[in-house]
């Protein structure tokens, strides 16, 4: 029977035991927020970490982005304790760690691919819902909870029944000024925030194949925002070229990687089609990523109590053109959009212009390596001259666990992945956009259609 990419990876990692379905995990990524209780559990039971050599940790959620050099200098007591706890746990259990102060530190979903430890055909887990990012390389990558983190640390396996399969097939190609971020936002808008629940999603079609690895990561990253268990893209030459030569990667493409594709005639439990050529630059108007419209349209009429609540929280009136929404803050960063390509694209939009008066704009590179590369290319100077705050690496204002938060009622254009109530600060109003759209919004102080704006400038 013809197999899907998902079937192939699943079959290669399934271990048959009598009590429950087990999936062997090739790479376990660990960070400070969802791991301390798991390590405590190991200690209490006198268990060790089965494969420290297939485990990698970093500090990202909590770290200040102000250049704080070591964990001991983190001012917030609880954050400091959490990062120091990670450092102690990694030392005790022999797990390699890139903590604050390391030039390899960064957001866990940025550094995995960057180091080349994220590879095609792997099973990858992390106690973080955006783990599907790694599926961009043709791996099967799940977000898991802390009990599962403990289970994987102890056994290198995940208890997991096989999810259903789904394909999102894109027709046509993306138009001028339309990015991977717009593509995934439009997809979630079309299928809803629970449209892929219970499914492992394969993204396919010409528009996907044409994306860079960074664009593919952006798409897979937001699979969870459509409810998907994992998102993946078949690896191709673009993938191999990106991976080969990195520190954790092999020096040549293994033959098995070339077998990682969905065979003709393989069936999916569910399939939807999305017209990529019809996608516009997108902006969210509400309090989940499915509440999204093209920048050229207006705030929609509410269809439910949930919509009304969202409009009320966001302080928006139906019928208001999206381009008239004025902003207080702009955040360029997060595991969705903080790679070097994202920063290059944003810097290009900024050019020699300045951030609008009254707008506080910040750029938070996804990793120290991204930061260093951006500085080598002079992108930091472009941002700083324009009035952007140039920060250190971390999750930052995507979820505001560190000091980077917005104030109540402040309106934020954000390249992150969640516009939930309170996500970026209590009462803060988040609009999700691409890095290009965020940069242009910073310059103008309100949203603009990047296609016309770039042509006009």
């Amino acid at each position: 029977m013809p197999q899907t990419l998902f079937d192939k990876i699943w079959d290669a990692h399934e271990i048959g035991i009598p009590t429950h379905p087990l999936l062997y995990i090739d790479l376990h990524l660990v960070h400070e927020v969802t791991s301390p209780q798991a390590f405590d559990g190991l200690r209490l039971a006198g268990r060790h970490v089965r494969r420290p050599d297939r485990t990698l940790a970093t500090a990202d959620h909590n770290v200040p982005t102000d250049g704080t050099p070591v964990a001991a200098r983190i001012r917030d007591e609880l954050s400091r304790k959490q990062v120091e706890t990670l450092e102690r746990n990694c030392e005790e259990f022999g797990i390699p760690l890139f903590s604050l102060g390391s030039d390899r530190q960064g957001i866990v979903h940025i550094i995995g691919p960057e180091l080349g430890v994220t590879q095609p055909g792997m099973t990858i887990v992390c106690g973080d819902s955006h783990t599907a990012t790694h599926g961009a390389f043709g791996s099967l990558a799940f977000g898991i909870g802390t009990s599962e983190v403990e289970h994987v640390l102890a056994t290198q396996c995940l208890v997991q029944a096989k999810p259903r399969s789904m394909r999102i097939l894109y027709q046509g190609s993306l138009g001028f000024g339309v990015t991977a971020k717009d593509l995934i936002l439009a997809t979630i808008g079309q299928m809803g925030v629970a449209g892929a629940t219970g499914h492992v999603v394969e993204f396919a079609g010409e528009a996907i194949q044409a994306l860079s690895m960074e664009g593919r990561m952006t798409v897979c990253n937001m699979t969870i925002e459509g409810g998907g268990r994992a998102g993946m893209i078949a690896p191709d030459e673009t993938t191999f070229e990106w991976v080969i030569g990195r520190a954790g990667a092999p020096s040549e493409v293994p033959d098995e990687w070339r077998e990682l594709y969905t065979e003709d005639g393989a069936s999916f439990d569910k399939q939807i089609e999305v017209d990529a050529s019809a996608v516009s630059p997108m902006v969210t108007w509400g309090t989940n990523p499915g509440m999204v419209v093209p920048v050229t349209s207006a705030v929609p009429e509410p269809n439910s109590d949930q919509d009304e609540r969202a409009l009320d929280y966001m302080g928006l009136e139906p019928g208001m053109p999206m381009e008239e929404i004025k902003l207080d803050r702009v955040f360029i960063g997060s595991c969705t959009n903080s790679r070097i390509g994202d920063l290059r694209a944003a810097a290009e939009v900024v050019g020699g212009r300045r951030v609008a008066q009254g707008v506080y704009a910040m750029v938070v590179p996804g990793s120290q390596q991204v930061k260093l590369e951006a500085e080598r290319e002079g992108l930091d100077e472009v941002f700083k001259r324009a009035g952007f705050d140039w920060r250190g690496a971390g999750c930052s204002m995507c979820l505001g666990m560190n000091p980077d938060i917005a104030a109540p009622r402040e309106r934020v254009a954000s390249t992150s992945n969640r516009n939930f109530e309170g996500r970026q600060g209590r009462g803060a109003r988040s609009h999700l956009v691409s890095p290009q759209m965020a940069a242009a919004a910073a310059i103008e102080g309100h949203f603009v259609d990047i296609r016309e704006w770039e042509a006009g400038n």
Partner: protein, 191 residues
């Protein structure tokens, strides 16, 4: 983990769809390194809105796609610490559902009509062994994975069960090594 038998009592109602885990337990409470004590921060922001009411009952009846978003297990920890033992909803987000079963908080998926009827009744009994929910005026059966059910009914620890199969895992790793192993160096080699 404590074994689950039947869960009986009054129900609390949260009739909103797509409730995400950022609402269940906001991020400022994720800095704790302990597993307990999250109940007092449950729905921290919403609890300050006028008219908010969420009594500490054994059962919560929630809306569609409950627990979407972040994978934080702190969300089920907070719900459990608050006093809930079962959550009844028309649908759950995947990671949240799985996290609940790991700590003995029972996710029960029923139809929207059945959920409405239970909200109306104000009390219910969830019988895991019979896979049935009973309330004044109705009964409904629910689906649950048989392995998970067995584990919950007996209060078994996943890790202990998997460790009994260590030989199978070692055998898998051995075969993997023999067929060329993993491509590229280990994480310990590059750190």
């Amino acid at each position: 983990m404590k074994a689950i038998e039947t869960i009986t009592g009054h129900v609390s109602v949260l009739n909103r769809d797509d409730v995400d885990t950022d609402q269940i337990i906001p991020k400022q409470f994720l800095k704790r390194i302990e597993r307990s004590g999250f109940g007092e921060f449950l729905f921290f922001d919403w609890a300050q809105e006028p008219g908010w009411e969420l009594p500490r009952n054994p059962i919560l009846v929630a809306g569609r796609n409950f627990g979407c978003g972040s994978s934080r297990e702190h969300a089920p920890w907070a719900l459990e610490d608050y006093g809930f033992q079962a959550i009844i909803a028309p649908s759950f987000a995947d990671i949240f559902r799985s996290n609940c079963t790991k700590i003995g908080l029972l996710p029960v998926q029923l139809t929207p009509d059945e959920c409405a009827s239970i909200r109306e009744a104000g009390e219910a009994q969830v019988d895991l062994a019979a896979q049935e929910v009973r309330w004044p005026g109705g009964t409904a059966s629910f689906e649950i994975d048989s392995d998970i059910k067995h584990r919950l009914l007996n209060g078994l620890d996943d890790i202990a069960l998997t460790l009994e199969a260590q030989d199978a895992i070692a055998q898998y790793e051995g075969e993997r090594e023999r067929s060329g192993g993993w491509a590229g160096p280990s994480t310990t080699a590059i750190a």
